[in-house]
Symmetry: C2
Amino acid sequence: MLGRLYEGQTCSAAWALEVVGERWSLLIIRDAMFADVTRFSDFQRRLGIAPNILAKRLEAFVAEGIFEMRGQDTEHREYVLTRKGADLKPVIIALSAWGDRWVAPHGAPIAYKHKDCGGRVTQELHCSKCGETPKLADVVARLTKAAERSR
Amino acid sequence: MLGRLYEGQTCSAAWALEVVGERWSLLIIRDAMFADVTRFSDFQRRLGIAPNILAKRLEAFVAEGIFEMRGQDTEHREYVLTRKGADLKPVIIALSAWGDRWVAPHGAPIAYKHKDCGGRVTQELHCSKCGETPKLADVVARLTKAAERSR
């Protein structure tokens, strides 16, 4: 899927959006991640999404290694998140945190919790050198040597 | 813009995607955020995006309060990120981290740095109760009381 839409962008965020930036993509992944949904019919019911769109997204996700298809030749076909798919959790958490702050009409509808202790889980910036939590405005982007090789 | 696409979803991540989930949206914001782009022509040149799409996105962003338009009646119209827009930085950083890990062909092309000390900035999960960095698999989502009011 890479390089088709955001061609010429030397940016991992753009490359990530090539894979998960289509409509419904991150919500399908969210339901697999936090509600343990694995069946086509369950995704469809929960999301209210058109079956052809859902089929297209799941097919692309399997091709990209975001989901793995199980029981493919049975009546109980399942779509299970891979490690690559499960690793998108910080993206969903970051979107939720922004949504909670700026567009949730009645406050945060979902809280992320630590399964072991029940504590509230948030995501924080961390500077590996000074150990501080930088202010957002103090986080800048710099090209690495790998950028040259990626052009 | 809220509620048009992902109607019925009680989820701040879905609500966030209503605002920034269209094609190009997050890359426009990225260029404003990390490359200080403010002019229509500069966004267009950097992104290689069709002018009508860019105009539509910027118009919607201004309506949503993600960008503020300045110099509106001059030749030097600028689009400047608001606090609400700048607050999307953790979303871009989370997408980049995933992309670096899973889809960057030659390694991370961009490093996020702390302006003050030059240290590498990453984003980490934090449990407010036990103080630990939970494993991804141990982060679960729970409905809050606000969820009822949001339906």
